[in-house]
């Protein structure tokens, strides 16, 4: 789960990491009020669940409360598109108004799960301000790393010093980094983060070391033990269709830009179906993992979601496995045909338990599906159907 920058900074402050003075505003008037209180130059930062906001015009530095009001009103309600948001962008419903700082140095500090070792990995760099992937590509020698012991999940004092002394810093800055590193680590572990990033951690002209931008992502599987994080969930930052899918109990749905919708059981198989579509020149419209297929209603709901994507020109249903009951899925399909006006061709490959019963239900219903037996046959038929060609 993702949260906004202002919320992440609240967590950091709770753990004793210095952040710039400022507050969140939901109206232009509020923003002006905060700017007035802060005095002098302030930064208006659009709050969306994505980074790279600066280049997209989501971060403005202003000199007066009036200007703060103007910039805020133009940001609020707009959709901000960055290279991390996808084509539609994300809606700006709030801004963070903060004191403008004079940074003389920008560092990177982050913790993520390193799956190769099965432990949290702490990374720091003097080349802050850009994304860690870019640092890794351009100046990998400038990244200092250390693993958090997976048994205790605690950072040792010497590890914080290794990070501090591994960066080119003045004494005072180094002391600040050595102080911040274990705090960030405690936050990561205690709140079950999947990513905790301070980027940049800025050294200002007046000698302060502050978290100027912060990103915290949380482990969805651990939310059950963090009511304080769960309540920060912001549905407005989610794609509408994806949210609907979540509400309807569909294991996972991700909208893409193509024209072949797919409904599959199992995440790996769903990905493989998308890849195979692309491999022969088709364009997948979504990723959809039905999860355990135990009721026809879930099939119906999945169908409703796929069919409501206006870009979809063909729907491919690929079900495989012993847990998947073909009769149940077929009932869901028949129900979908009776409830929704399906205007696009549907290709179905239904393999699993009770396939004969499914066949009977299908033929009695009289609905007109394009049937496929083998995996590649289903993919080929879907790609042909989406291209508008009549199937022989």
């Amino acid at each position: 789960m993702r949260i906004h920058e202002y919320q992440a900074k609240k967590f950091l402050a709770d753990y004793g990491v210095s952040v710039p003075r400022g507050a969140m505003a939901k109206t232009a008037a509020e923003a002006a009020g905060i700017a007035k209180e802060l005095g002098g130059r302030v930064v208006i930062k659009a709050q969306i669940h994505a980074g790279a906001r600066g280049k997209a015009g989501g971060i403005k530095t202003v000199d007066s409360p009036d200007e703060a009001e103007r910039e805020t009103s133009s940001l609020l309600g707009s959709r901000l598109k960055t290279h991390q948001t996808g084509e539609e962008g994300l809606i700006v419903n709030s801004v963070l108004v903060e004191e403008a700082l004079n940074s003389i140095k920008e560092l990177y500090l982050g913790i993520a799960i390193d799956s190769a070792t099965g432990a949290p990995l702490l990374m720091a760099s003097e080349a802050g301000g850009m994304e860690i992937e870019q640092i890794a590509e351009k100046t990998p020698e400038k990244i200092v790393k250390c693993h958090v012991d997976p048994g205790t999940l605690q950072l040792r004092g010497f590890q914080a010093r290794e990070i501090g002394f591994g960066l080119k810093l003045g004494d005072k800055e180094r002391a600040a980094v050595i102080d911040i590193v274990p705090r960030l680590c405690s936050l990561f572990v205690e709140k079950d983060c999947s990513l905790a990033e301070i980027n940049p951690l800025s050294v200002t002209a007046d000698g302060r070391v502050l978290a100027v931008d912060a990103k915290l992502n949380f482990d969805d599987s651990a939310l059950y033990r963090h009511a304080d994080i769960k309540e920060l969930y912001d549905p407005h930052q989610e794609n509408e269709l994806e949210m609907m899918a979540k509400k309807k109990g569909i294991a996972s749905y991700v909208k893409l830009e193509g024209d072949i919708g797919s409904m599959v059981n199992g995440a790996g198989l769903a990905m493989a179906v998308m890849d195979a579509i692309k491999h022969i020149g088709g364009k997948p419209a979504n990723f959809l993992d039905l999860g355990t297929v135990n009721n026809p209603e879930r099939v119906l709901n999945a169908f409703k979601i796929i069919a409501s994507d206006p870009g979809v020109k063909c729907i491919l249903v690929n079900i495989f496995g012993g847990m998947a009951r073909v009769d149940v899925i077929t009932r869901g399909l028949v129900e979908a045909y009776s409830q929704i006006d399906i205007k696009v061709p549907v290709v179905a490959r239904l393999k699993g338990t009770n396939a004969a019963e499914g066949e009977r239900i299908l033929s009695e219903s009289g609905i007109n599906l394009i049937k496929a037996d083998a995996f590649h046959e289903a993919i080929e038929k879907a790609v042909t159907a989406a291209s508008g060609n009549v199937l022989g």
């Binding site: 799960i113 997976p150 969805d220 790996g268 198989l269 995996f375």
Partner: protein, 293 residues
């Protein structure tokens, strides 16, 4: 001798009295697996389905029945503790089916099983099957047949699909291991490759990876340095957009190494044969096996 489980496996089921645990235990027994005990705290002393004794603790169950492996169907919030319990008792493999276990819980569990020297397969996995010998998992038996190809996969349904494609071409499997779709698996693909390399009943390996993490790269390292048997690989998720989680908790491209293209390249450079779609796996395995002979 197949890897991890065989005729000698004496399986214990943690969470046997739950609906899922019960359902899949029936499936394992039907397949011929020797299920010797169940564990559900508070239900010790009873008999599950009139045939399997239930114990309150794993320690107790092991002492009474000589169980040597475990499969876990315990809900996510309690699953890490169940895994610790099985590892303390020295059971191996421990097959952890449960999905949605917090990642940091798994960091602790993986660390502990490594210390103990036991194998934990999963979490969020379909389990392990050595066709014709033993099934400790939730997979459909019809997709599998005994043979000499090892299968390693991060995905459940895709494993069945691929196994069925192999079976259809009469390419049997020695053992199929679902390592699971989470960020921190108890056993990595590279570690399973090491088992297959040593296994006298395995001639070649099918590796089914996916986006996210660096597991395929460490598998590639093992292939380059230590693997003498041929490996044919498919990586799911070439079309997945970066930054989006594709179903599995671990299937998300965050950095360069998480991309399908990077993984394919690493595997191909290490000497594995990489294919673009699942149906090509069976043809390629056949080709590879023929050229070996």
């Amino acid at each position: 001798m197949s890897i991890l489980i065989d005729e000698g496996t004496r399986l214990l089921v943690q969470g046997i009295t739950g609906s899922e645990g019960g359902f899949y235990t029936h499936g394992c027994i039907e397949y011929g697996t020797n299920v010797v005990a169940g564990v559900t705290p508070g239900k010790g002393g009873s008999l599950w389905a009139e045939k399997v004794p239930v114990f309150n603790t794993v320690e107790n169950a092991v002492r009474e029945t000589g169980a040597n492996a475990s499969i876990i169907f315990v809900p996510a919030a309690f699953a890490a503790d169940a895994a610790f319990e099985a590892a303390y008792a020295g059971l191996s493999p421990i097959i952890l089916i449960t999905e949605f276990i917090p990642t940091l819980d798994m960091a602790r569990v993986r660390n502990f099983v490594k210390e103990k020297g036991v194998y934990l397969i999963g979490p969020n996995c379909p389990g392990v099957i050595s066709p014709g010998k033993c099934k400790a998992g939730i997979m459909i038996p019809q997709a599998f047949m005994p043979g000499r190809v090892g299968v390693i996969s991060r995905s459940g349904t895709l494993t069945y699909e691929v196994a069925a494609m192999l079976t259809e071409k009469e390419i049997g499997q020695s053992t199929c291991v679902g390592v699971g779709g989470d960020q921190i698996p108890g056993t990595t693909m590279a570690e399973v490759l090491a088992l297959f390399e040593k296994d006298a009943e395995t001639d070649a390996v099918v590796l089914i990876g996916e986006i996210g993490g660096g597991f395929e790269q460490t598998a590639a390292e093992f292939i380059r340095e230590k693997m003498s048997k041929p490996v044919v690989a498919f990586i799911a998720g070439s079309t997945a957009p970066p930054g989006r989680r594709m179903g599995h908790a671990g299937a998300i491209v965050t950095g360069k190494e998480g991309r399908a293209e990077e993984k394919k390249k690493a595997l191909a450079d290490a000497g594995a044969t990489v294919v673009d779609t699942p149906p090509e796996l069976s043809d390629m395995i056949k080709k590879v096996l023929n050229s070996e002979n």
